[in-house]
Subunit: 430 residues, 2 copies
């Protein structure tokens, strides 16, 4: 028996499926060797000898997955938000990312990113670095140290970059990618590489094709951006005139992935039926980034349509177009966005329920990592313990009501402990 074996007691909530949250007041959660053995209203006999940690009135929910976040953008989050995507990239983002050529700069900035990620609701993340190998390895080193489980990508971009933020050509970018992969081979316990073409406008046809081949050769996954902004969509049509839509451009370069190696596409705000079909066919994951999509005036992605089509969906904070790594705040904005899509765009597309959004933030994105994001038996034991006692109420609140209230009042939900695969990776100092 390892110290990844124990019982937690508290107010438990997790998604049974996307329409149902199971809760237990003062229930029990069993973790054996980092794997969840289930949640129970009464502790089963066979676990009665395990060490029990009683969290009293506190809440215990599954760790959350941030399916799309840009680490080098973290330290300038929340500024320039009156701009739209392409202007924001050239004015704020590209000049900042260029600074990560300096390893010392990267080290310092990534320390802030990594430490804040360790302290928030996120237990799993899929992360963009920059195009710089050294800085990206530094980021991976730091993340691996935390115990968070992440995919991290060295970014590829060989066209339309900023000053000092572009690789010379496809061959150079591909070669750098191979070097990066060699350098980190066998280096990490918790951190995996993911191929990361920034988006079609940043990557020549040759680079995209090369990355598609590399993914196959090395069994790597891919992450990128899709149909975020109307100007971007129009630009992609110019750049890849033979494509029938933006998603098809990725498909032409063999970068849309497979069910076994699913590609993550962030945004999909403007994805129509044709794109939905392509995403579905490849078993892709959509990283829905509602905060970002509102901040950059991109629009609102029709998430209910994606779910109805059976496409995998998780939530991304998309820092720094999203301004916070707080997944709870992201849940709130996801709910508000979906209500506005229903009210303003299409009353046939019903708003997401709280149950659905809780699912997306936990198991929806978590499933990208396997059996992750729930307390069902056999799932990795990722859990967050929360003190919500600052949110006073005059009534007895059910666990279900308390997690909804927390989502709408994120600032008053205090994380006490965080576990990943049964290992406690964060404890709040009082």
């Amino acid at each position: 028996m390892t110290n990844n074996t124990f019982v937690l007691r508290g107010g438990i909530a997790f998604s049974e499926d996307k329409n149902r949250i199971t809760t237990y007041y003062r229930g029990y959660l069993v973790c054996v060797d980092g794997v969840c053995k289930g949640a129970f209203p009464e502790l089963p006999e066979q676990y009665k000898d395990l060490t029990l940690y009683d969290y009293g009135e506190r809440l215990i929910i599954p760790g959350m997955t941030d399916l799309h976040v840009h680490a080098p953008q973290y330290t300038f989050r929340g500024i320039g938000m009156d701009e739209e995507l392409l202007e924001w990239l050239s004015t704020y983002t590209f000049p900042e990312e260029a600074k990560y050529a300096n390893k010392e700069y990267a080290k310092k900035a990534y320390e802030y990113f990594t430490e804040d990620l360790r302290r928030c609701f996120t237990t799993r993340g899929v992360v963009f670095g920059t195009l710089h190998n050294e800085a990206t390895i530094e980021l991976m080193d730091q993340l691996d140290e935390t115990g968070l489980v992440t995919y991290v990508g060295k970014v590829n971009m060989d066209r339309n970059g900023g000053e000092n933020l572009q690789e010379a050509d496809a061959a150079t970018s591909l070669e750098a990618t191979r070097e990066w992969l060699s350098a980190i081979e066998g280096r990490y316990k918790n951190t995996m590489p993911i191929l990361t073409p920034r988006f079609i406008p940043s990557c020549s046809d040759d680079l995209m094709k090369g990355l598609g081949e590399l993914a196959k050769e090395k069994h790597l996954r891919i992450q990128s951006h899709l149909s975020e902004n109307k100007s971007e969509v129009a630009w992609v049509k110019e750049l890849v005139p033979e494509s029938t839509c933006y998603a098809n451009a990725y498909e032409l370069f063999d970068t849309m992935g497979t069910a076994e190696q699913p590609t993550i596409m962030a945004h999909c705000v403007h994805s129509d039926e044709k794109e939905i079909e392509i995403l579905k066919k490849h078993g892709a994951y959509i990283a829905h980034c509602a905060d970002s999509n509102m901040n950059l005036t991109s629009g609102i992605a029709p998430i209910r349509k994606f779910l109805d089509a059976g496409i995998h969906v998780g939530l991304g904070t998309d820092v720094a177009a999203g301004s916070s790594m707080n997944m709870i705040k992201t849940m709130l904005i996801t709910l508000q966005a979906s209500k506005m899509y229903y009210r303003l765009v299409d009353t046939d597309v019903k708003p997401l329920t709280f149950e659905e959004v809780f699912y997306l933030a936990t198991e929806g994105g978590g499933s990208y990592f396997g059996k992750v994001g729930s307390f069902k038996e056999g799932y990795d034991f990722d859990a967050v313990v929360i003190d919500d006692s600052k949110m006073f109420s005059m009534r007895d609140m059910s666990i279900r009501e308390r997690i909804e209230r927390m989502c709408y009042n994120d600032a008053d939900a205090i994380i006490k402990d965080k576990f990943v695969k049964g290992k406690k990776i964060y404890t709040r100092m009082e």
Copy 2:
């Protein structure tokens, strides 16, 4: 010289007008007898003998005005948010407000409301109580004690209420209102009564007319709700068939106010050109409640149109349909809402800028109280001192950038001190 006379030093930001934020890094703010004498990059000679409090790198901004908040709803904020307005009122709100018949219950619940209002960015508020006189006086007593400046209303409702939440008839409601006004006459320094018909569906024609007359007789202001939800708008048309629109129904009962005694109308999500004209004609204030309007799937109010028409607009948190009294979070959601109105409803209606939303949160609503919400000369000295040092950045940030960043990352903006009319009413304990 009173102790309401001093100089503050820090990172100062305030609206010069709705399109311009004036900032001074390490600037000076002069307060004499509770009135602002201006903000300065260098301290003018004549103020050099005043006591100076140096806040170093901290930010100092004007106090914010919450133009629409329901005190009795505070302790159940953040639940039932999958409902729309009318269902939410009958399921959650009316049963809760009925409990305020019990004065002890009201006292305890209002203590939480009042204390949290004292600790947030708000220095001025316009507040709904319940229909109960005793509870409303308790609320006013508590608020007056804090030093916050507020209007508070005993609610009127003589039809379509909940179980135990309805006055018998118009005469009973009007009589209770007169009793309430008598009971508090001369009682407060900082707290003023405001007539508060809940909304047309809650008030019979006779009650509305009676309140219109009472407002004239006693020179009182009025607050209510207007065009929040489409089902509500349709209902009002049934209830007052002779009205040409919802705003006209208020007009028929003489409750739309005057420039000298402006009525506050919360929401105006579905107000068309006709309503805009009526609001403008009466010099009304619109309390824009973007958080609430998204949470209850009401829609998005066309604030740019109201501003272009020259109508007064401020922001309201509308707790508990809005889930937080944090005006900074309300600013973020206001920005996101206005961007989505532009993107999804009408691209001729440009999104609000950060400058405009900062203005709305400070002077926009503040002007309802007179010269309030800015650091221009002659304004009441309402100020909030903020520590934003938790938001690390790799770059030198301008004051303008720091207040934008704070708006997008409200959880990391820590209020250190709060002043109303030059009196320090809150200090954070370290």
